[in-house]
């Protein structure tokens, strides 16, 4: 469901999403089919399949070491899969896909001795982009990121924050159709985190397809339209975020309160209580028991500051599906559309 208030701000984007939602026909632009990759006998990625719909911000989420980076590397043709394939508009990916992608790996760096301008031109040329047009674009980005006066500086002479900005520019300078960001917020200072968020939203408005992996559920929840959740190399959840949340939230409530709710622990209608600091997530055994829960809280003199029925965070969903680190063997794939 798309909010009418947002239409003013991002008219073109939301209209297109809305049409897609109405028709229910998200065209699958990029398909990952049954990817398997082992290292030294250990399966890092085990039969991973998902589809990235056109015009979406797609989140590949899971904890560290879940297999996200290996999956992305196979999508980028950096690793060859043991089996499986990645399909772009019906054909297997190749160099053509690489030229259309802007990729920001989790572990990133640039040539220290190379000058800013040379670096930008080099990476653009590797993507097949040269000439006045790309130079003009590079100048625009440098001005926008307050780096224009440093264009002849060596990379090693820039601050870490500025190097991170340069890394973003090299990722998007060649005007890619796809932007793949592997743990994009790791190691970023707050200023650059915001900057990157703005860039992602801007790229989204421009109609780019953005795929990003993260172990930070909060970011994924705020930015993604679709997600695939990976744990121990397997897909455990896939679908549109709104549908996933609506499915999982039916037995859920989030609560902000004053008082002692320990009495709830032994209440037969409660399945699980998760404390997230400021808020507490409560999972009920049956659907539509939220009103009864609210009544129980009031009857026990709990001061309720906020009660949000049918709300669940992505993190709660993840914990429910993947469990803790030592409780992982029995995860099974769920599909929001199922």
């Amino acid at each position: 469901m798309i909010s009418i208030f947002k239409l003013n701000g991002y008219f073109s984007y939301y209209v297109s999403i809305n049409i897609n939602n109405i028709t229910g026909l998200f065209m699958n632009l990029l398909e990952v089919r049954h990817l398997i990759k082992s290292f030294d006998g250990l399966k890092a990625v085990n039969d991973v399949s998902f589809s990235v719909p056109e015009g979406s911000v797609f989140g590949l989420i899971g904890r560290n070491g879940a297999g996200k980076t290996t999956t992305i590397r196979m999508m980028m043709n950096i690793y060859l899969p043991d089996s499986g394939e990645v399909i772009l508009r019906g054909s297997k990916i190749g160099q053509e896909f690489k030229n259309k992608v802007g990729y920001l790996p989790e572990e990133r760096g640039l040539y220290k001795k190379m000058k800013v301008w040379e670096t930008l031109m080099y990476f653009a040329e590797l993507k097949g982009k040269t000439g006045k047009n790309i130079e003009r674009k590079a100048e625009e980005y440098l001005k926008r990121f307050d780096l224009f006066d440093r264009k002849l500086s060596k990379m090693e002479d820039l601050s870490k924050g500025n190097q991170q900005k340069l890394q973003f520019i090299t990722t998007i300078l060649h005007d890619p159709e796809f932007v793949i960001l592997d743990e994009p917020f790791s190691g970023l200072d707050p200023v650059n985190t915001n900057l990157l968020k703005d860039i992602i939203l801007e790229l989204k408005r421009q109609g780019k397809i953005i795929i990003f992996s993260t172990h930070l559920m909060d970011y994924a929840e705020k930015m993604c339209d679709h997600i695939v959740m990976i744990d121990h190399g397997k897909v455990i959840l896939e679908g549109s975020l709104s549908e996933i949340k609506s499915k999982y939230s039916q037995k859920n409530a989030s609560l902000t309160y004053d008082g002692d709710i320990s009495f709830l622990k032994n209440n037969p209608m409660i399945e699980k209580i998760e404390n997230f600091g400021n808020t507490t997530g409560i999972r009920l055994k049956e659907e539509n028991q939220t009103q009864l829960l609210l009544k129980t809280l009031i009857d026990n003199n709990i001061i309720i500051k906020k009660f949000d029925a049918n709300d669940i965070s992505l993190q709660e969903i993840f914990i429910e599906l993947a469990g803790n680190e030592d409780n992982n063997g029995s995860t099974k794939k769920e599909n929001a559309n199922a």
Binding site: I78, K98, P105, G109, L110, K113, F123, L126
Partner: protein, 421 residues
Amino acid sequence: MLNKRVLTVIKRELREKLISKAFIVMTLIVPGLIFVLLGVQSLLMTSEQKNLKVEIISENQQLTPLIQNELLNSDLSKDKKYIFSFSTLSKDEFKKYLDSQKQNIIDEKLGGIVYIPSSALKDKRIDYYSKSSQNMSLFKDLDGPINKVLIDDYFSSKTLSEEDLSFARTSVDFTGYKVSKEGDIKEEGYGNLILAYLLTFLLYFGIIMIGQMTMQSVIEEKGSKIVEVILSSISPTELMTGKILGAAITGVIQMAIWLSPVILLMSTTIFILPKELLFSISSTVIIYTFINFFIGLLTFIGLFAMLGAIFDNPQDASSGTLPVMMLILIPFFIALSMMENPNRPIALIASYFPFASIIVMPARLTLVGVQVWNLVIATIINIATFIAIFPIAGKIYRVGLLRTGKKPKWSEIIKWLKYNY
């Protein structure tokens, strides 16, 4: 294989390497370094201890003044290389005298004692007593003068003319003539020997220097995590090809700078070299040297790039370079051994042996000359070696690039060849 992306990598490699301080400094320093090395070697060979006290004792009283006269008038005494003293002692007296001088010899107050028994007049056998008994330099120095006295004495009773004696005393004097395939027979100085030395050293330095630079560059790309950004645009094979070609072109430019004085001397008559230093090489040698060097660089740079991808830091890499260094060092020493005798069988084999041919064949070509078809065979062997090694080095490079963690063992690296990367 050669596409725009590879050309982009080649351009970057050339720009980075050609203007790097290391390249400029080494290009200028290496020729000087080679001359210094050659100079030090000849200096070590010529510079001997001065004022070495040597006693010459002869059993035959008549020989003593003759030897004294010969040695004191020789350059050995004039240059103060030795301080000679002369005496005559019978065998028994000499034994006692030797006992009394033992401590002086051990304390190096006395360099050595040469004893010439009377029997030497027949069999030319003389004895030398010293702390280090095998003093080749002294044997060589004393051989001429003592031999002359012995010859004079031997023939004095045989009524030979002064002319006959003079002939008998003169040693054999070799003059080298080079017989080439073209049928020319030309007197040749040391020029070609020096050129062979020069080519061997330059090939050795060139391959190691450019190889190490490439290895460092790969380590930098791997260590500073640039490599994954690059691999999102091009394949590892394209990256490796670009890096190898860029580095090999740099190496050839460097070699051209180093060899430009030789080419200049060949192509002009403005500079006149002394007769002893004249060298005769054809343009075939120069062309072959460059083709051979280029193929050699491709092969060895491929191996150095592979090493760079295996290791995470320069310390680990430098200890891991030994196997590749051996492939360069062994042929280098074989090539140097050719300077003494270019027709050694090992040199012949090495000039066609994979890896070794690259360093040995140019030296052989300069010293003995070989036919064009020999060069063609050597080139085919070198190209075949490169073709055989490139996929292996490429695979290890591809696997190693994105691997981090502890230093891998060679047994693990061999397993990488089976990986599906």
